[in-house]
Every structure is written in structure tokens, then in C-alpha cells.
Symmetry: C2
Subunit: 203 residues, 2 copies
DNA sequence: GTCTATACTGGGATAGAC
DNA sequence: GTCTATCCCAGTATAGAC
């Protein structure tokens, strides 16, 4: 996974070291946040020197990027599975919301990495880390399919998708900030809101 | 505004310097982002030394905090005005959405400061910058009042408020990332979604 | 190919002169 | 009240040992 830039094959040690470094980075980011997960600390935890870390990764940002894409891939896989099992577009929307929020509830470290990672790469460093097909497209496509099949009323799918994702993210943030906030009822509410707002047939 | 820690009064020059420094910081953050708005650059733009900047502010984060609260205060004032003019809770929700999105459309620099500032202070540095009465409360209260007066159906006002704010923020982010994205239709859509999802009477 | 040592840069923060 | 000098730490670059 994640081939080298020049397509050359990776040695055994290299692969092992990369995994080890990434694992250390994940732990540190989850515990102390990205800004406090310094190269020195990562190196220390991996029992190697700073320079050794930079031998395997071009720079610190590349480590974040890698951690981020791995987390994202894991989530995407779960999402793909849930979506393929959905019988109808409205079902798919419900599955999307539930899968995302369930993941967030079960992987607080992953959430921190995603929230902080996406925010810091996009905003702080200016690098565009948006997922390949922009995130809202997945949802917008479901809405569009539902409109064609008549299950959704006519509305701007782009805006609806952005709002839904924003709502999910906000719930995730609240979960991080407030441990008392229950994710499951929140997910149910959000699905309910979305259905009421988008379904063609009366609720 | 923003008294000193020890309650002592601020001299004229001190006040002027603070304003000047904040103005420079605002410009730099808006143009290049918080991370790239270094003390050196702020000092350079204000024609003083780095240390002089730190004489007036304890550290860089305090500058951000100040910029943030000023931007937030401005926005809050506009919001309060719009809300007080609203005749009913549903009207208030519409006014809330429109005011926020209109502000965002008209003040791209302000948006950048808010988005980046809130994200980086809360997550990267770990400082809690949530506004005094947490942001969702304002909206949740409107929903609650509307439920009492019968205009809203029964739902979890906390979650609804979080979702609505998340949706607004997501629209703001999209506006930043994609200049083609039109804010006004998006605001209309969001108000429409919210009404459909929350009104007690059929739509 | 893998790594250590070391040195350089740039950012934030402090001490002390004026 | 403002500056200079200095320090520390983070990220990065290079040389070279093995």
C-alpha cells in the first residue's frame, strides 16, 4: 500500500519501520494532538533518531497525510460496505449517517485525527487534503439517485450534502468536547431530520 | 473593552498599539492564515520589534484569541439585532441562518479567522475557545421556545441546534474552498430544510 | 540501504539595557 | 515602554558511519 514515488519496491525493514513510525504518530496525535506530536517525540517513542524518521518520510506533513489517508481508508471501507447493503436511497442516507457516527463513537482517536488532520492540512498548512471524489459528492449522488427514482423531493443536492456532512461533523465535535453527549440518539435524530427535509412522500 | 488582567487602566499609547497590532494581525491572518501570520511579520507590518509585540500581548495565542473575540463580538451584535426583530421562533431560525451566512459571504476574512481560529484553538492548542453561552444554546433556546408555543414539533433541541450550526459552518467552508458556490440559495435551502424538519404544522 | 551526529533555519519567548 | 540580544525548541538538510 502507498507505493513509493518512483514505483520501486520497498524493503522489509523499510516497510516495518514505516508502520512502526506511523503507529507511534497515531498514538501521539490521538493523545496530545497533531501540533504536540513532534518529530522528536515520535522518534523517541520509536527508539530511533529524528533523522531516521525523516529518512522514511520526507517531512512531518507526509506523516500526517499518511496517518490521515489510512484512517480515511478504513472509514471508507466501512462506509462502502454499509452503503452497498442499503436497499434504497433513503436507506443509504440512514446507513451513511449511522456508520459515520458509529465509527466516531467507537474510534475517538480516529475522530481526533480526522477532525484535526483535515482542519490543519486544509486550513493551517494550506494543503488540500480533500478526499479524491470530494466528500459531499458521495452524499449528493445518493440524493440525486433518490430524486430520479422519486423517493426524494426536488432540492439542491449539493447544499443538502454539505449540510448533512456538516451536521455529522458537528455531532462528532460535540462528542469530543462533551462526553455526556450520546451519539446514538443524535444519529437517530439527524436521520429523522434528514428524512423529513428530503423525502418526497409525507413523513 | 477587554480589560487588563490586573484591572489596571490602559494608557492611551498602549491602547493604540494594541489596536494597531490587532489590525495587522487580522490582515495577515486573513491573507496568509494564522500559522503564517508570524510574530515577525506582524511586528514588521506594525513597524516595531517582535519583543514589542510581546510586550503588549503575552503570547501569540492571545493575539488570536483577541482577534477572534472581536470578530465574534461583531457577529454576535449583528445576530442579536436580527433575532430581536424576528416575530416568531421559526422566523428567528431563518434570521439566524440568513444573518450568519450573509456575514460569511460579506466577510471572507472574518470567516477565515473564525473557522481557522476556532479549529486551531480548540483542537490544535487544546485551549477551549467556545463562546460563553455555548454556541448551540442560542439556537437550542429558540427551538425550545418554539416548541412551547407549539410552532415546532417535539425533538431534541440540543442535537437540532448542533446540526444546524454544523450545516452553516459547512456551507461557510464550502464558500471558502469553492468561489463558485452561491451562498444565498444555499441559505434559502438550509432554512427550508430546517423548517421541514422542525415545524409542527405540515410544510 | 539504514541510520547517527550535527548543524542550520525560523518561530516564539525571556532578560535586561536604555 | 521599547528595543537588543539571546535562548529554546521544532522542523529540516547534510555528511558520513556501518
Amino acid at each position: 500500500m502507498t507505493p513509493t514515488r518512483d514505483g520501486r519496491k520497498r524493503t522489509f525493514v523499510e516497510e516495518a519501520r514505516r508502520r512502526q513510525i506511523l503507529a507511534c504518530a497515531v498514538d501521539l496525535i490521538a493523545e496530545h494532538g497533531y501540533a504536540n506530536a513532534t518529530l522528536a517525540r515520535i522518534a523517541e517513542r520509536a527508539h530511533i533518531s529524528k533523522a531516521a524518521v525523516l529518512y522514511h518520510f520526507d517531512n512531518k506533513e507526509e506523516i500526517l497525510r499518511q496517518v490521515l489517508t489510512e484512517t480515511l481508508d478504513e472509514l471508507t471501507a466501512q462506509l462502502a460496505e454499509a452503503l452497498s447493503a442499503a436497499a434504497s436511497p433513503p436507506d443509504a442516507i440512514a446507513a451513511y449517517v449511522h456508520t459515520l457516527i458509529a465509527y466516531m463513537a467507537g474510534h475517538p482517536a480516529g475522530v481526533r485525527i480526522l477532525v484535526e488532520g483535515l482542519a490543519s492540512t486544509e486550513l493551517v498548512t494550506g494543503t488540500n487534503m480533500r478526499t479524491q471524489p470530494e466528500r459531499w459528492r458521495i452524499v449528493a449522488d445518493i440524493f440525486a439517485r433518490g430524486q430520479q427514482s422519486g423517493s426524494f423531493r426536488d432540492f439542491d443536492t449539493h447544499t443538502a450534502a454539505i449540510c448533512l456532512n456538516g451536521a455529522i461533523d458537528a455531532i462528532a465535535s460535540e462528542m469530543l468536547a462533551n462526553p455526556d453527549y450520546a451519539p446514538l440518539p443524535a444519529a437517530e435524530s439527524l436521520v429523522d431530520f434528514t428524512h423529513r427535509a428530503t423525502l418526497a412522500t409525507g413523513y
